[in-house]
Amino acid sequence: MEVTTKSMPYDAWKDNEYIEKLVKELQDNGTNVIVGSLDKLINWGRSNSLWPLTFATSCCGIEFVSLGAARFDMARFGWEVARSSPRQADFMMVAGTIVNRMVPVFRRLYDQLAEPKYVIACGSCAISGGPFLKSYHVAKGIADIVPVDVYLPGCPPRPEAMIYAIMQLSRKIKVERFFGGVNRQEKQQEFLREHPVAGVND
């Protein structure tokens, strides 16, 4: 099965192995015909209208603004509805450095996102701390704070790269499964159990 998005030929992707692995996992678990097509329908809907949360802490956020403007125009892909409230957004593009003081706020925003929710770690700061790795007040990547779906390297990543990353995300959503089997949701729950926040997860 070739999983791709409408605007991207399958061979143009740089890393088809991982998606093939995901597909194989999915097929190995076996699918009920009715449930399978329901899954497909849901995934089709979800993957084509990804709404981002307006969230940016620093430099990378400006490229996200460029992405929204006329030249790169993310409206072409149905992602332009950037929401200011996490309750209405589907995914969070973590554009910028996350520092100690921001961590609880960031985690709260993530917790407030409605399910299903996704995270893109955008830029080297979000991935590892980037140029500020040795700082006393910077989180060394967001992977310890929230589960991450797509990593997008760059300092800052170009808007084209951001498009690629969001497409990767929508491709990943296409091979998800919402009924039965071990799916992403469960892995996410497991992560949250391992990284609890008082008052939220108890």
């Binding site: 969230f55 921001m102 500020f132 040795k134």
Partner: protein, 543 residues
């Protein structure tokens, strides 16, 4: 210079003078407050603009260096060095919050980084770090063990109180005072709010719809750049400048390069100077364009963003061809610039200059003349010239209040003295003026580019510099006109390859510091207009 020196010597006989790049006076802590009052109010001194307070840890002692400028007397600068009294555990200095309004904020910053207590400062809280933070990070003996200050997803402890310290019979006494009264109605805005332009938080006390007081809460993007720089060589320090105010990346970068070049005695070629100035002005246009877009978006006019970003993208293309990046260029380097201009550069700049006048006309048609825009901006967020100086509000925001603070004019550096352009000033001091000043600055920057585009001299773009750059022991201070105001850089070297201390005094910190003053008595909806028109960049103020 002699008169200032004589005057200060008469006021304070113990003062010691040292002529570095800026005249530096060392005074004892006990005399400092009286001298500060005299420096500020004496007509022959009149140092009314406090540029920055540099906290210092010299290991055997701690203290501060105050950089100030006299706006009425030819923009002369002076540095005052004061060694803190008390023990290393609790060093203290008298506060000068009653002399310069911005000192309240600067002293909080020094307290946060060095633990120096400012006696009588009405608000001695930490600024960027949490209340429970262990240690003072910029001290040389700071314990960096992450176990002491772990990253936690639990909400930070909040407090309604702040401290003030008084000196009673030579002993420090701490008093708790309330930031807000128990009956106050406080609304929290931010840190994740679309109109704060980043992660800034306002604790806003309102009475009905009227703002009574705003407590600006920073540090949500404090990245510890100053400390990081202490462990890096001079060329390695440079990329951080791009990541503070990312719109002034070129300006900040060349400012720091100029400082290191001056300290190391490197003279760069004229070609490099011209390239740097051109890049600075291109950045200024791009930055002001983005300001207009986001500001109008804050006011509800989203379409403006698309118009202004069109020009910005064109500039980014020019930069990308030469520098290889759309942002965080890392282009100027010690000795000149990283690489030569792209062959298309002149052609592209000319194409840009051609479209700018038409674009400005369009912006004015679209927005400036709009009735709703006028209603929301005219007379909103008034800032007088005196307050602008006292709060250290520089850049276009300061010039909108009538303060002539454009360093390119008042303390020209690089090739600016040879260029023909005007400093844009307005007198109204409201949001509309701040908007208009930026709009006209685009025209002036275009004028500068016009003069230079056909006059880029031949020569090397980067002179030969030693592989390892070592600075002699000493200290230097440099100011640069960024897109949002004055960036002050203080550099102290102990003779090695890494700086002993770098202090970055960004323009956006005072811009945020003035919010409380400027919004008092305004309506809550105007907070967005005012904040937008001041145009602060959060990573710049937090560093």
């Amino acid at each position: 210079m002699a008169t200032i020196q004589d005057k200060i010597a008469a006021l304070c006989p113990e003062a010691q003078f040292e002529q570095a790049d800026v005249l530096q006076v060392t005074v004892p802590e006990a005399k400092w407050h009286d001298l500060a009052v005299a420096l500020r109010h004496d007509a022959d001194l009149a140092f009314d603009y406090l540029i920055t307070i540099v906290g210092m840890d010299w290991q055997e002692s701690m203290g501060c260096i105050y950089y100030m400028m006299s706006t009425s007397r030819g923009n002369e600068t002076l540095a005052v060095k004061v060694i803190a009294a008390g023990t290393r555990k609790s060093p203290y200095l008298p506060s000068v919050f009653d002399v310069w309004a911005v000192a309240t904020l600067y002293e909080r910053e020094v307290y946060d980084f060095f633990g120096i207590i400012f006696v009588n400062n009405p608000d001695m809280r930490r600024l960027f770090l949490s209340i429970d933070w262990v240690g003072y990070p910029l001290r040389k003996d700071y314990d960096t063990d992450p176990k002491l200050n772990p990253i936690s997803t639990e909400s930070e402890r909040q407090s309604d109180f702040t401290d003030t310290w008084t000196l009673e019979k030579g002993k420090l006494v701490k008093n708790e005072v309330r930031v807000f009264q128990p009956e106050d109605f406080v609304v929290n805005i931010g840190p994740q709010h679309p109109s704060t332009h980043g992660v800034l938080r306002f604790r806003t006390c309102i009475d009905g719809e009227t703002i009574k007081k705003i407590d600006v809460y920073m540090g949500y993007i404090h990245r510890g750049i100053e400390k990081l720089m202490e462990g890096l060589t001079y060329p390695q320090c440079l990329p951080f400048l791009d990541r503070m105010d990312y719109f002034s990346a070129q300006n900040y970068h060349s400012g720091m390069c100029r400082l290191v070049e001056r300290a190391a005695g490197i003279k760069i070629s004229r070609r490099a100077e011209v390239i740097r100035v051109m890049m600075d002005e291109l950045s200024r246009i791009a930055s002001h364009c983005l300001f207009m877009g986001t500001f109008c978006m804050d006011l509800g006019a989203t379409s403006m963003l698309f118009y202004t970003l069109r020009v910005r993208e064109q500039i980014l293309d020019i930069m990308e061809k030469t520098c290889g990046a759309r942002m965080t260029f890392n282009y100027p380097c010690i000795g000149g610039v990283m690489q030569d201009l792209h062959p298309d550069f002149q052609k592209d700049v000319k194409a840009l200059l051609e479209i700018i006048p038409a674009n400005i006309k369009e912006y004015q048609k679209l927005f400036t003349g709009n009735v709703i825009a006028k209603e929301r901006m005219v007379g909103v967020g008034l800032l007088s010239k005196e307050d602008a100086i006292s709060y250290g509000v520089t850049g276009p925001s300061g010039r909108a209040s009538g303060w002539s603070c454009d360093l390119r004019k008042i303390r020209p550096y690089s090739i600016y003295p040879e260029l023909d352009f005007e400093e844009v000033l307005a007198t109204e001091g409201d949001s509309m003026a701040r908007f208009n000043v930026r709009l006209h600055e685009i025209e002036q920057s275009a004028k500068i580019l016009e003069q230079l585009v056909d006059n880029i001299p031949e020569g090397e773009y980067c002179v030969k510099v030693p592989k390892v750059i070592k600075l002699p022991a000493g200290h230097w201070f440099e100011m640069t006109e960024g897109c949002r105001g004055v960036l002050g850089i203080y550099l102290e070297s102990d003779g090695g390859t890494t700086p002993y201390r770098v202090k970055l005094a960004p323009p956006c910190l005072p811009l945020a510091g003035v919010v409380d003053h400027i919004t008092e008595g305004m309506k809550i909806a105007d907070l967005i207009t005012i904040g937008g028109s001041l145009d602060y960049i959060i990573p710049d103020m937090d560093r």
